[in-house]
Amino acid sequence: MKNAPYPFTSIDGRTFFFTSTGKANITKVVEFTPTDNENIVNLGFGDVMPEGDYSDLVVSDNGDLLKVMTTVVHIILYFTALFPQSKIGFTGSSPARMRLYNRILNNYYAEFKKMFTITASIHFDGLLKEMAYTPGSADKHASFFIKKKQ
């Protein structure tokens, strides 16, 4: 991802904000939250709505998707530099969002795999199994996991 990211801010090291300046100015939030699995943190990503609440369902279509995703990747890099043992899990809030995340992982896999170990929770024989992420596969993903290589 060669695009420059948007500048981002954080006050606590786990919640990050940046402004997407495409067709409109939209404040985005990326949040890392502990899960029930002590080794995994959940990545939440969405928009700050005009009313001040948060939504990971809105499709803002602001014309700067690549720059927004580049910024999210930079935030992940920042977070994993602070917490290198953290394994980050993320899943889409809709099938379309899952396809988008899969497309990004697929398109930038060669670049990402230098920095991260990438796995996914995959539907397999009626079960969910964490397996290595395989770009271009027809695997049915339920979630993705990335961990900074040591």
Binding site: T15, V29, E31, T33, P34, T35, D36, N37, E38, I40, N42, G44, G46, Y54, D56, G89, F90, T91, S93, T119, S121, L127, L128, K129, E130, M131, A142, S143
Partner: protein
């Protein structure tokens, strides 16, 4: 939530109070902007056979 009082006789006169946090209670104590997404991830993790 259970409270376990650890006997530290011989090491310190102060009584230590250990409040264990069950993994299943962790998300209840976490403030998040995206509670539905966190709940979904926890459900996926519960049902996923993770790599060692």
């Amino acid at each position: 939530m259970p409270i376990t009082k650890k006997n530290t006789k011989g090491k310190s006169k102060k009584e230590q109070v250990v409040i264990p946090v069950s993994p299943s209670n962790r998300s209840n104590q976490v403030n998040t902007l995206f509670p539905e997404k966190l709940a979904r991830m926890n459900e996926l993790l519960k049902n996923t056979e993770m790599l060692p």
